[in-house]
């Protein structure tokens, strides 16, 4: 019969809508700004008495408290607004004394049954809610040293090829490489070869009577270039790391000459945010030393897995982490876990050159983690200052036999479990930084928009939506009601998808969603004007509905698929915000097609379908 859906279609629609509602629901429970109380000593605890003291102090300061509770981690004080939360922090700190630690946090209010099925609210952006702010420092001297380390192994190779005998090659921390010779003739020969093959360095010769040195350092332009590259590459890596899908809306920018700001929206817990930024590490690929190797050319390093095993590695570095463009875990032909590594062009040729003569030997991947320790020192004037000392920890994350000459992409097999392979891939990706970076500062940061601005933006978005709905109602009467119901469901579905992807909502993002709604009615407008046309052409109402939907369908499909194609390509090629926009656009197209075609049709079928032709209010 015309305009009847089978029962399963109605049930499917209901199921989709139910899922949409469930996953969109947490957005009605936004996170509470809160203060987290904890203790530093085991002798003090956070209990009801502590909370009572805190509540009293807040009352005296005139700050409204939403809720206070004792949790396993300490105590939580919830507030109605971020301003109250910030104002309360010094008050509570003063009231409780220095035995307690007071930290800012955002506490979820999503009911347990929702969070247990993985539902959670979409985050609010830096403009609406603020978040956490990190300042990272790029260790540019280390970048220079690292580059010289790699150059050192290339230079040794060049000298060996030309049979020039050197005694040792050392790279100092202030980025000077010194090559030691026993004969002046060797020194001169080496100088000729190196100046010819590596013109980007400055060479100086010195001697101490019986030993002769060539000192290699960067030209000023070259060192500036290395520093700029290190900063730029780290910036790009961090951007990709914190915004993989492009919907996270973080802020990553350069600050000053060698620092990077990372701001993440919707979190105030710095430990959680650090996990997102990930390890700030480096990698070195090195060969295992042969038994006859010179003791001076060997480093003995331990494995990072805590087993205490050690391996003797050559000092020479094949490539460093910045040559790694990607690493992922997968399975080999026999279903055993493996890690695939891709290198950039330069890294690939370097790897090929070294491994060609090293088939059968072992290659190690060394993971270098950069940490910093703060100490508080009391100066002569009695002022306490923070002194930061950075240090690095080296450990082997993989030692594997080279089976064949390795090129731009190769794999590490023989891993014990998928867990091991995914961890290794994660570590490899984490180490793909051009230079060590250190966290130097972490703070929470407030919203960049004023409350008034936010109120206006949200209000205008609501008004915009109402205007569209009112227009549809006036213009299409009963059919306008159908369209508006579909539109409402469209918003619910879109919110559900965005929340599932933990997308971040900014004010322009909200405006964009409302705008999508303005455009999403297009499909219904197309269908309804077709139905009107068919009615005008004299078709009975049931046929008019049927052919109106059918004929509009190809148009809607063509128009939406072309737009979807653009979105998919923008996603594949774009970065950051462009990618994020493509995601939202594609989701919007898919949900609006579903609601405008299927859901509207279902409503019309329910109301008009299978009955005698009657007048349509369209």
């Amino acid at each position: 019969m015309l305009n009847k859906y089978p029962l399963w279609k109605y049930l499917l629609i209901l199921l989709v809508i139910a899922l949409g509602v469930i996953y969109a629901l947490p957005n009605l429970y936004p996170d509470d700004p809160a203060l987290q109380l904890s203790t530093q000593k085991s002798t003090t605890v956070v209990d009801q008495r502590t909370l009572a003291t805190a509540e009293k102090a807040l009352q005296d300061a005139g700050i409204e408290l939403k809720e206070a509770e004792v949790t396993t981690a300490g105590g939580t004080l919830r507030f109605n607004s971020g301003e109250d939360q910030l104002a309360a922090k010094p008050v509570i700190s003063a009231a409780l004394g220095e035995n307690y630690v007071v930290a800012l946090n955002l506490v979820p209010t999503t009911p347990d049954w929702l969070s247990s099925i993985g539902a959670g609210p979409a985050k609010l952006g830096l403009d609406l809610r603020g978040g956490v702010h990190f300042l990272l420092e790029v260790d540019t001297p280390a970048a220079l040293k690292q580059r010289l380390d790699v150059a050192a192994s290339e230079m040794k190779n060049a000298m060996r090829t030309d049979r020039i005998r050197y005694r040792s090659v050392e790279v100092s921390n202030n980025a000077v490489m010194s090559i030691r010779f026993l004969r002046e003739a060797d020194q001169q020969a080496a100088l000729d070869v190196l100046e010819d093959q590596f013109p980007e360095y400055v060479y100086n010769t010195t001697d101490s009577g019986n030993e002769f040195f060539v000192e290699v350092s960067f030209t000023e332009a070259a060192s500036a270039e290395v520093e700029a590259y290190a900063l730029q590459q780290n910036l790009t890596t961090l951007r990709n790391r914190v915004n993989e899908l492009g919907v996270a809306e973080p802020l990553v920018q350069r600050q000053g000459s060698n620092r990077i700001v990372v701001e993440l929206p919707g979190v105030q817990d710095t430990a959680a945010a650090k996990r997102i930024i990930g390890a700030t590490a480096n990698l070195e690929f090195r060969l295992e030393a042969g038994l006859d190797a010179n003791a001076g050319d060997i480093d003995t390093l331990t494995f990072r897995d805590g087993s205490g095993r050690t391996a003797r590695l050559e000092r020479d570095i094949i490539i460093t982490g910045d040559s790694v463009s990607d690493a992922s875990s997968s399975f080999d032909e026999n279903g055993r876990p493996q890690v695939n590594i891709s290198l950039d062009g330069k890294g690939g040729s370097q790897m090929a050159r070294v491994t060609r003569t090293a088939v059968g030997r072992n290659m190690a991947v060394v993971f270098i983690e950069h940490k910093s320790r703060s100490r508080f020192v009391e100066g002569e004037d009695g002022k306490v200052t923070e002194v930061r000392r950075s240090y690095s920890e080296r450990g082997i994350i993989s030692l594997a036999t080279i089976q064949t000459t390795l090129g731009n992409s190769f794999r590490i097999t023989g891993l014990d479990s998928p867990r091991e392979s995914s961890e290794l891939a994660l570590l490899l990706r984490a180490g793909a930084l051009a230079a060590p970076i250190y966290f130097v500062e972490e703070r929470t940061i407030g919203p960049s928009l004023g409350a008034e601005n936010i109120r206006l933006g949200v209000l205008s978005a609501q008004i915009g939506l109402l205007v569209v709905m009112a227009f549809m109602l006036v213009y299409y009467k009963v059919f306008g009601v159908f369209a508006n119901i579909s539109l409402g469901l469209n918003i619910v579905l879109l919110m559900a998808c965005m929340s599932l992807m933990s997308a971040t909502l900014t004010l322009p993002g909200i405006a964009g969603i409302v705008l999508t709604m303005g455009m999403a009615v297009d499909a219904n407008v197309l269908i309804f004007s077709r139905i009107r046309e068919e009615l005008k052409a004299g078709l009975p109402s049931q046929q008019a509905i049927h052919s109106g939907f059918n004929r509009a369908f190809t148009t809607i499909l063509d128009a939406n698929i072309t737009t979807l194609l653009v979105a998919v390509i923008l996603f594949a090629v774009g970065t950051g915000p462009v990618k994020g926009f493509a995601v939202t656009l594609s989701l919007g197209i898919l949900t609006s097609m579903f609601t405008a075609i299927v859901v509207t049709r279902a409503q019309i079928n329910l109301v008009y379908g299978g009955r005698k032709n009657k007048r349509l209010f369209i």
């Binding site: 910030l86 104002a87 922090k89 010094p90 800012l104 403009d127 603020g130 702010h133 730029q232 951007r239 920018q253 350069r254 600050q255 929470t444 940061i445 407030g446 919203p447 960049s448 928009l449 004023g450 409350a451 601005n453 206006l456 933006g457 205008s460 008004i463 915009g464 939506l465 569209v468 227009f471 549809m472 213009y475 322009p508 405006a511 964009g512 705008l515 709604m517 303005g518 455009m519 297009d522 407008v525 004007s529 046309e533 190809t554 148009t555 128009a559 072309t562 737009t563 194609l565 653009v566 390509i569 923008l570 594949a572 090629v573 774009g574 970065t575 950051g576 915000p577 462009v578 656009l585």
Partner: protein, 301 residues
Amino acid sequence: MNIQFMAMRKIVAMFSMALVLISLGSLAIKGLKFGLDFTGGSLIEVQYSVAPQLDDVRTLLADGDYSDVTVQNFGSSTDVVVRMGNAYTPTLGDEVLSTLRNNGDVDVELMRSEYVGGQVGEELREQGGLGMLLALAIVMIYVAVRFQFKFSVASVVALAHDVIITLGIFSLFGFEFDLTVLAAILAVIGYSLNDTIVVCDRIRENFRIMRDTSPSELINESINQTLGRTIITSMTTLFVLLVLFFFGGESIHNFSLALLVGVLIGTYSSIFVAANLLLAQNITREDLVPAPKEELEDDMP
């Protein structure tokens, strides 16, 4: 209702070409005025002795000679971080500080003043451009398969027309181009393409059913048939945009402005430009409906 759109095609073509030329000229000579998101600027951190009202700080700085100011609390209610589009100079921090002191009324200290880079990297510009070209190529292929190659040319040129003019207006009037405007431009692409394909779809359909109509009349008829829908969709979108533009506050002002311009141009181009281009390419019924094959009768006994 039957408006003779195609009778105006010469004047409209001149008008469009003039707009595109002016836009390209302005983009080449004046360029776009990129915002803080792209160019970077300065960051100034200050500490108050008494927690300030951030809105007051914002107003104070808005009155000064600073562009693109954002003001945020920084870890506590007395610490405030200010970002602005002004290029970093060693004295900028002190200038801002004296503005904030408001003739000595307020006790505030400068903690740090530094250069900050753009929020999006160079790679966005390079890859964005490449992505655009690739997207256009794929759209052309899809439209060529679903419709015909002449439609590919028409829709892609109409799309480029809309984007160039929107960018041109931003360049000509010196409106600021930030990340939200970039998003708006991408939305304009989606909108314009959608609009053009709807009209093209009707033209294709009419070529199949109206046999004895000249291409010019047929296209005119198709535009008239879709006119209702074109106007209603533009209107609902424009309603939203006008509300956002007038009441949405500063942060979505540029976003809605770019879309207002883009949607108006997009609507105009789906009525005039795409159809005009189809006629210019001498579109005929045979382009869409294959000529009937001559059949060979097998007259073997």
